[in-house]
């Protein structure tokens, strides 16, 4: 129901908006939230609860709301589990309940069983009995809230970075006051004010109708802030509808801004960001995050239209909305009387039930009584009546004796259609705790307050324990002065510190937790997760004492609301049941994020093509023209294989491999990492980081090297070329280029700064075309006239400078296939030209471009390892049967050498790399399959496995325990086949060199 217009209302009655909720059409106004607009339409049902499927309505008006979860929009704009209290209404909005309250619900259907389903029910019934796997799908089908999105998000999200001297979090009375004070008393300091709502003011709107001074102060202050934002935007940034959801080390604050305009959400071409993450680095932080009201506890406290007292006030004052005609207001503090006064002024019938006895009569009570409002002091509500919507309450007399609440006398019934409750206030200490602060329990305000002193932060207003709005304003001013002082902006405080003592405005009594109530069923603590007082009692009976364990056993505070309304009551219940003070129970740990953050917002613009860099060689377009399929290796798009029409990968690889072995193939090897090593100690440097000898490698020669880390494990391999005594070019694996480069720099900068060596990554500077096969020499002779290619003059593992098709080149005779091969290195921009010239000249030998898949087969036929495939970071050179590459007589103990003599690295049962031949030559083993011994125990696994066209049989390499001593032995490889199930394949352990064991092919046949 909407009341007559009033200046405190923040809705624009001239702008009517249409929207759809659960397939019904409604009208609201600009300035409404989805929650307030529905409440105004008397649509009270929002959702069903998580476990019992109970129908639930709103209890709050803001971020703390546990029930009103909805799914907003459809298709590419579908967003699950948003709180209706946080969605600003726009024209054409469409939303549905996260869990439809009007549809049949199996959880509600099994209501008689609910009392047999306490905390731990699913675990004890299904998981412990080992039937969970069978029932999980059907149980999950009817639990949970919104469905997960199925379509790609069409919206745009952004990230913005800020630096500021002062960040004020929270735009209520305290935050406004603090921000203004800083701005008024400083000249250069950059200030950011962050508030989660669209309108600055926080809870101040609630005071407008009863205190004109509040309205005047608000109007005046907000106008001054807005003029700072407009006229001095370098200095002051105002972020509204923005939630500070995390506060990290070094005052690094993350803020999620939501932009909900009809335009941004309904436009078919999204241009503007829908949500923005602001990442703020601040020198000083002022927290003015306010407080959340907590409900009172009684039986059936989850019926629809039982709301928080201050939220009822907020709907009334900010939106002109009330969801009842006859209201019972119930609580343990003086704030309930303000609610009663405001309702009474608006001619809404109300009764006040106060658990406190009338020992200290306060003025407002007398006024209310005088004006005809019924006030029952020393009474408590024990039960709410009604099936779904509250229809009345049962009350009894109550008295505090010592520290115990007594409940006595006859039960009376009051009828009502709205119940507003207030059990005190929980300061929003979450952000402060993200950053490592602790809380302490304050007996006066009956709340956990933030640790008082911290560097670079102040707390003010309700989060610091203030309750009156005047106190909050003064507090904001004071704390701003402290902040200015810390910044050194003012040498002394420019004005007198206003009273620091908050008036104990609310007189909150201790938590109302008598046994008579805690022992009743359906006294809900966590409304979203259906956690009751009995669940907490059960967890304590079962031996849990830490509140962290009680939380995890019961799921209290695990929902999307993170227990903002229920947790502190839960702590009070636990304290009561264990008979220890609140301070001893303490709180659970507050962790980021304070509220839900969209994945889209986290990803920002780094999606699709911007998710990861894509690297292409300069030859890429020729590969595409040849119809290559690509695979991504270390961000490079490498040709994988080149299928001809109708070929699959196996047929293409078969053809490519045979072409290389019998005539001529060509490959783009540009992606190999290349590091230019220069300086008078370059040779010494290579000698220290590679396991083999480098001192005698002559200019004009190349050498293969194996690189280990200090633990003795292989990290990379590659060929390095001696250009001259002070200049080498090292190649690394494609994927390892960056980490090897980084490791080499670390040695040079941190250990061997005395070496005259300079490194530079030149991977992108050169293109490499490998010409491979028995006809390779004939081809390079055609393309290059100024190099003597005769086999005795240009030997394997040598290089020559030359001119290839008019382009300066370094030609290296190295081979990763065992065939005669030349790698033509040219300046990168000539890469595609050289590739195309080689392809044309090679036509007479049917030159065949081949990709990484054939490269892998060819190298496996020769038993060459791939670091990272045949090794995994725990393999030594000995493990891969490469002891021959370990120099014995180098004067400097090269990296990793000392570790080789550690006993664990010499053990006989280490995994060792061997060849594996299946008895049935047509069976290709799956890579990763386990090798088992005759007892079925795993003794290793297959690392590489292919079908070799030239050998016309399958080949594999495997890491097997003590494998090198098991030559010719038969082992089994266990594989899973889709239809046949488990199968054991007999194999013979062999040398890992399968083809051309004598190494005769490397010189070619001419």
């Amino acid at each position: 129901m909407r009341l007559a217009q009033h200046p405190s209302h923040q809705v624009d009655y001239s702008k009517s908006l249409n929207f759809i909720f659960n397939n019904k059409r409604y009208k609201g106004y600009e300035g409404d939230t989805l929650a307030s607009a529905l409440l105004a339409n008397d649509a009270l049902l929002f959702t069903r609860s998580f476990k019992y499927g109970r129908k639930r309505g709103l209890i709050a008006a803001g971020v703390e709301e546990p029930n009103a979860l909805v799914s907003l929009e459809i298709g590419g704009r579908y967003t699950p589990n948003l709180k209706a209290t946080e969605i600003m209404l726009y024209d054409g909005l469409s939303a549905v309940s996260a869990s439809n309250p009007n549809a049949f619900d199996i959880r509600a259907f099994i209501k008689p069983l609910h009392r047999f389903m306490p905390a731990g029910f699913y675990y004890k019934t299904f998981i412990k009995q080992k039937v969970w796997a069978k029932v999980e799908d059907s149980i999950r089908a009817f639990s949970g809230f919104s469905k997960a999105p199925t379509e790609e998000d069409v919206d745009v999200y952004d990230h913005i970075f800020h630096h500021a001297e002062v960040v004020v979090i929270g735009g209520g009375a305290a935050g406004i006051s603090a921000a203004l004070e800083v701005l008024n008393n400083s000249k250069k300091e950059r200030v950011i004010l962050v508030d989660e709502r669209t309108q600055l003011g926080g809870e101040l709107f609630n005071e407008f109708s009863s205190d004109e001074a509040a309205m005047t102060w608000h109007k005046d202050s907000v106008n001054r802030l807005l003029s700072f934002a407009n006229e001095d935007s370098e200095r002051f940034t105002l972020l509204t509808q923005s939630t500070a959801y995390a506060w990290h080390d070094q005052n690094y604050i993350e803020v999620l801004e939501t932009i909900t305009t009809a335009e941004s959400l309904t436009s078919s071409e999204p241009q503007k960001a829908r949500k923005i993450i602001h990442r703020i680095r601040a020198k000083e932080v002022i927290l003015a995050t306010g407080a959340h009201e907590r409900p009172m506890l009684f039986e059936a406290n989850d019926l629809t239209n039982i709301m928080l007292s201050q939220s009822v006030r907020r709907y009334l004052h900010e939106y002109g909305v009330i969801s009842g005609k006859k209201v019972v207001i119930y609580g343990n503090n003086d704030s309930i009387y303000s609610t009663a006064r405001d309702l009474h002024v608006n001619d809404i019938e109300c009764i006040v039930v106060d658990v406190r006895s009338s020992e200290d009569p306060i003025e407002i009570v007398a006024e209310l009584k005088h004006s005809g409002v019924k006030v029952l002091q020393g009474y408590s509500i024990v039960k709410a009546l009604g099936s779904h919507r509250v229809k009345g309450v049962e009350i009894v007399q109550t008295k505090l004796q010592g520290n115990d609440w007594q409940v006595f006398g006859d039960t009376q019934t009051l009828s009502c259609d709205l119940l507003a409750t207030s059990g005190g206030f929980n300061p929003v200490v979450h952000l402060d705790c993200h950053n490592g602060a602790k809380t302490y329990f304050d007996e006066v305000s009956q709340s956990f307050l933030p640790q008082q002193e911290r560097d670079n932060r102040e707390v003010c207003g309700a989060v610091a324990g203030a309750s009156a709005w005047q106190d909050a304003i003064n507090d904001g001013k004071n704390k701003a002065q402290f902040t200015l002082n810390a910044l050194g902006t003012v040498s002394k405080l420019t004005q007198e510190i206003l009273s620091e003592n908050y008036s104990n405005y609310f007189n909150v009594s201790q938590f109302f937790t008598p046994k008579e109530i805690l022992n009743k069923p359906k006294v809900f603590l966590d409304l979203q997760n259906d956690v009751t007082t009995l669940d907490v009692a059960l967890s304590i009976r079962e031996g849990y004492r830490s509140i962290e364990h009680i939380k995890r056993y019961t799921a209290m505070g695990f929902g999307t609301d993170q227990g903002k309304t229920g947790n502190i009551n839960g702590i009070a219940v636990a304290a009561e049941l264990m008979g220890i003070p609140m301070s001893e129970v303490g709180t659970t740990t507050f962790r980021p994020a304070y509220t839900g953050v969209d994945f889209g917002a986290m990803a920002g613009r780094e999606i699709g093509d911007f998710f990861d860099p894509q690297r292409y060689t300069t030859i890429h377009d020729s590969h595409v023209a040849s119809g290559a399929e690509f695979e991504v290796v270390g961000q490079w798009y490498r040709p994988w294989y080149y299928p001809k029409t109708g070929e699959n990968i196996h047929q293409a690889v078969y053809r490519e491999c045979l072409a290389v072995r019998t005539s001529l193939g060509m490959m783009d090897a540009s992606t190999l990492g290349k590091i230019d090593v220069q300086g008078s100690d370059a040779r010494e440097f290579l000698s220290r980081i590679y396991t083999n000898a480098w001192m005698k490698l002559a200019p004009g020669s190349c050498r293969y090297g194996l690189m280990c880390n200090e633990k003795g494990m292989i990290i990379d391999d590659g060929v390095s070329t001696c250009i001259n005594d002070n200049h080498f070019i090292m190649t690394t694996t494609t994927g390892g280029a960056a980490s090897v480069y980084s490791a080499l720099e670390m040695w040079l900068q941190t250990e061997w700064s005395d070496l005259d060596v300079h490194l530079n990554s030149v991977t992108d500077q050169y293109s490499t075309v490998a010409v491979v096969g028995p006809n390779a020499r004939k081809l390079v002779k055609l393309l290059c006239q100024d190099v003597d290619f005769e086999r005795e003059n240009f030997k394997f593992m040598q290089w020559r400078p030359g001119t290839v098709c008019g382009v300066d080149a370094r030609i290296m005779r190295i081979s990763f296939s065992g065939e005669l091969a030349y790698e033509i290195n040219v300046e990168a921009n000539y890469g595609r030209y050289i590739w195309d010239q080689v392809a044309i000249a090679g036509e007479k030998w049917n030159i065949t471009p081949y990709g990484t898949e054939s490269m892998h087969v060819l190298r496996a036929e020769k038993g060459y390892i791939i670091v990272g495939q045949d090794t995994d970071g725990s393999m030594t050179p000995m493990d891969v049967n490469m002891s021959w590459i370990l120099a014995k007589d180098k004067p400097f103990s090269y990296v990793g050498r000392r570790s080789f003599s550690i006993s664990a690295l010499c053990a006989e049962d280490r995994l060792q790399l061997v060849g594996l031949l299946t008895k049935d030559s047509s069976t290709v083993l799956p890579e990763g399959a386990h090798v088992i011994d005759n007892k079925g125990k795993s003794i290793g696994y297959v690392t590489s496995s292919y079908f070799s066209p030239i050998l016309d049989r399958s080949i594999a390499m495997a890491q097997i325990q003590g494998g090198l001593a098991k030559m010719d032995e038969t082992v089994l490889v266990k594989i899973v086949q889709k239809k046949q199930g488990l199968k054991e394949i007999p194999c013979e352990i062999s040398s890992s060199v399968f083809y051309d064991i004598e190494g005769e092919k490397v010189d070619g046949n001419d």
Binding site: Q749, S893, R898, I902
Partner: protein
């Protein structure tokens, strides 16, 4: 996400530009072959991992690619000071 001051670039930049590179002042033994397995293991594997102010190595990997020294509190992550390599060789040396 820390804000780290690079002593070479002389600018405070976001942590995403840097990579951590382990505890500082772990010197490679001069004669690895001349020490026991335990001493070698101490150099290769064992780190202090202590609570409090801690010297470590960082590299400005997406910047000047220089390694440098950082004294950081492992409790609050506050960075107390940074120094170029060679400016000091132990925690106590000034």
């Amino acid at each position: 996400m820390l804000l780290i001051h690079c002593p070479y670039c002389k600018e405070s930049r976001d942590q995403s530009e840097f990579s951590p590179a382990g505890e500082a002042f772990i010197a490679r033994p001069k004669s690895p072959e001349g020490i026991s397995d335990e001493e070698w293991a101490d150099y290769v594997f064992y780190r202090t991992n202590h609570k409090g102010n801690h010297w470590e190595q960082w590299v400005h990997s997406n910047g000047c690619r220089k390694y440098f020294l950082v004294e950081r509190s492992t409790i609050s992550h506050q960075i107390l000071q940074v120094a170029p390599f060679g400016a000091r060789n132990s925690e106590t040396e000034l």
